[in-house]
């Protein structure tokens, strides 16, 4: 186990270096620049700006400087939000996205898994059809439609819930449900098919033959094994949801990290693109790592340290 963790940690670092390198060169090949605007600054001003931020140097030198700074944990300052360190922006924005994301993940798990189970146990009946219909809708309808519909129904027409900001727990409901809708539906479908597969296995039939009660059979024997695909999905899901969604943040005016991620690209805010990409990549990698460890907990037959 220790060896496995060490090995994985090394791979994590190599992956991050690789991602940083690819991102760095990719973003520099895209046309445009951070200081372009409708009213273009004069050539002299532009040259001063580029010199100030080291963008006048050859790309390889810029790359070297960036990687050295990165090794020291310095992500630089934003070119668009003049003077703000990237680390400070992430420290400021990530908790907001993470709080909202956690609520969304909780909603997705709490509803998604039972819906999947119920549908599986009622296979082919009207309840199954109804639940799977809802789940299909949840997968097919894009987030901005869910967001605006919820906002118009609960915020404007019924006037029950606030439509922007995250000032009170009540504010979390609409954005969290929007964020949770897709993963919840996806999880329900995943859970249903996985549960059906497990229910057809020999050991369940044996349990049935032995007269184990339906309740015990499902919760003690079937559920655990059916959870594996859901857990696989949970890793990347958590990484994406915790780091914020551009659409949801924009629609509900939430000061999260997702918006920063997308805007940095539009703005060609190079240090911000690097910072948010590396951060998202790190979280994603660690979530996958965490999920791998979780397999072991759920299913003791899984061995992590294969030679």
């Amino acid at each position: 186990m220790t060896r496995y963790i060490i090995k994985r940690t090394i791979i994590v670092f190599l992956t991050i270096i690789l991602i940083s390198t690819i991102t760095f060169f990719l973003m520099n090949t895209v046309p445009g620049g951070p200081f372009l605007s409708e009213k273009s600054p004069s050539k002299a001003v532009l040259a001063m700006l580029e010199e100030k931020y080291g963008l006048d140097k050859p790309l390889l030198v810029q790359y070297k400087n960036y990687m050295v700074a990165l090794a020291h944990g310095d992500l630089g300052v934003s070119l668009k939000k003049k003077g703000q360190p990237i680390v400070a922006i992430i420290v400021d924005k990530f908790p907001v996205s993470a709080r909202l994301g956690s609520v969304a993940v909780a909603i997705a798990v709490i509803f998604g898994i039972p819906i999947g189970c119920i549908a599986a146990l009622n296979r082919g009946k009207w309840l199954d059809n109804l639940l799977m219909f809802i789940a299909t809708v949840g997968i097919a309808v894009p987030g901005f439609v869910v967001a605006t519909s919820l906002m118009i129904i609960f915020g404007v027409k019924l006037g029950l819930l606030p439509t922007f900001g995250l000032n009170s727990p009540l504010h979390y409901i609409l954005p969290a449900f929007t964020l949770a809708f897709y993963p919840m539906s996806y999880m329900a479908r995943l859970m249903r098919s996985s549960m059906l597969e497990v229910l057809s296995l020999d050991y369940i039939r044996t349990a049935k033959a032995k007269g184990v009660s339906q309740f015990k059979m499902i919760f003690k024997h079937a559920l655990r094994n059916s959870l594996i695909p859901v857990i696989t999905y949970l890793g990347p899901l958590m990484a994406y949801v915790l780091t914020g969604s551009f659409v949801v943040e924009k629609i509900f005016t939430i000061p999260g990290l997702g918006g920063e991620f997308i805007n940095s690209i539009t703005n060609r805010d190079y240090p911000m693109i690097m910072g948010t990409t590396i951060f998202l990549a790190t979280i994603l990698i660690f979530m996958n790592f965490f999920v791998d460890l979780l397999y072991k907990v759920v299913d003791p037959r899984v061995t992590l340290d294969k030679e």
């Binding site: 895209v30 046309p31 445009g32 620049g33 372009l36 605007s37 409708e38 009213k39 273009s40 600054p41 004069s42 050539k43 002299a44 001003v45 001063m48 100030k52 300052v77 668009k80 939000k81 003049k82 003077g83 703000q84 360190p85 400021d92 924005k93 609520v103 909780a106 909603i107 798990v109 709490i110 898994i113 605006t148 906002m151 915020g155 404007v156 006037g159 819930l161 439509t163 922007f164 900001g165 009170s168 727990p169 009540l170 504010h171 979390y172 409901i173 919760f219 003690k220 559920l223 943040e249 924009k250 629609i251 509900f252 005016t253 939430i254 000061p255 999260g256 918006g259 539009t266 060609r268």
Partner: protein, 539 residues
Amino acid sequence: MTKKILVLMLALMMVFSLGACGGGGGAAATPTVLSVNIGPEPDSIDPANNESVDGASLLVHGFEGLMKLDSAGVPVPGMASAYKVSDDLLTYTFTLRDGIKWNDGQPITAGQFIYSWQRAVSPDTAAPYGYMFDVVKGYEAAAGGDLTALAAKAIDDKTIEVTLNAPTPYFLELCAFPTYSPVREDVVKDNPAWATDPATYISNGPYKLVTWEHNSYMLYEKNQYYYDLKSLVPDQIKFVLMEDDVAILSAFQNGEISFADTMPNDEIDAYKNKPEFNKAGQLGTYFICFQTQKAPFDNADVRKALSLVIDRNFICEQIGKAGQIPAAAFVPIGLTDIDPAQQFRTVGGDYYSVDPADYEANVKEAQALLAKAGYPGGKGFPKFEYILNESTGHLQIAEALQSMWKEKLGIEATIAQQEWSVFLNTRQNGEYQVARHGWLGDYNDPISFIDMWRTGGGNNDAKWSNPEYDKLVADIKATGDKTVRYTKMHTAESILMDEMPIAPIYYYVDIFLKDPTMTGFYSSPLGYKYFMFAAVPAK
């Protein structure tokens, strides 16, 4: 496992019940708070670094220059109590008001203005609007790093003397422009993040920033040291930072905000006759730009033909739908002429007819021009590309243009959308054939539009060049004689419209939603919104 699920269910119920508590009670409303939306999170509210209209609206609440704009858009004394202009119109002497203070109680001095102006011009600051000082003598040298060359001096703590390159009729207006606001050296120096934190955001305007939840809201309250404190109306102004226009509209409908600076285009029809709907002029023109160095757009007849077949009324009424005004010239409405009671546009008149009744005649003329250029009925005209930045509105206009050109002139255009940054790059480098463009003036003087098209100008994306035009621009910028200035500006515009490196489509208007019961609000011709005297009666 069942236990775990139970625990999670309970946790969820707690979240909901907490939520229910949160919505109920509200604190007794002692201070009056005006909640408005004028835009999303601003890039910068440092007076030197701001370059957006919404940022400027925040700055006119937080800061004040020597002059300020009144509700009619006329510059009136702000931090200065009086000013004198020399007979040659080149030297302005300002006297500061007595006892004016920063919002931390420290006195405001003439030297602080000089420091701020030098800072805004300094290449180290690289201020986007640094060029707004180019009317001041010594600007070129100062922008190159010799800051003391800028001919703005503090004679004593209360007197500022500024010498200009040439008579500048709009200089007082510039003194009200946010980039001309004072900042304090001990606040801004060595703290590049000073303008991101209310604790270090020391300002001198009517309101002070007290809370800034980034990407959420900014709360301003009355500056207790402001010289005209008693005239200010709302105790607090809450600028809600929102970007999505559907969300903004929802918040407005809900009563969560009393003012919305933008709204979804497809809602305009439903709102345009309601009392909430407001339309104000804006110093700007939406136009298309031809790359005049590339064939066939190097031929003025081709450019004029393409311009004349544009059904501007269709674009304004069916696509823009926000009361945009069909443009028959480049300099927009809203700018005044030599007699401030008259508009430059009225005096200059139209260069072609935008009357719907004349459209067919325009089309005939366009067809004749195209034939004259060697492409009768569009035969032999190469297929070309029209580029625009990604946006539904711009795309709809592009498609309309495409079909007008095809239908009336028999020429083919393809449409290419580019991401904003890529688009700017392409257009500025002249690597296009025809492109969308739009321009908003920086001050109430037509030179802001005329200057753009001189040879080699940084914003001359048409890459157009006309020596006669260049000479006129140089003359206009050198003279103090108003009659000469305005006459030459009209002449310059007629050359521009005769050569048509650009085809104007419409004049911008500023639409916003405002609680009909709101009083005391005004906006400037540049689109800045003023809430310091605004009130909404309690409902």
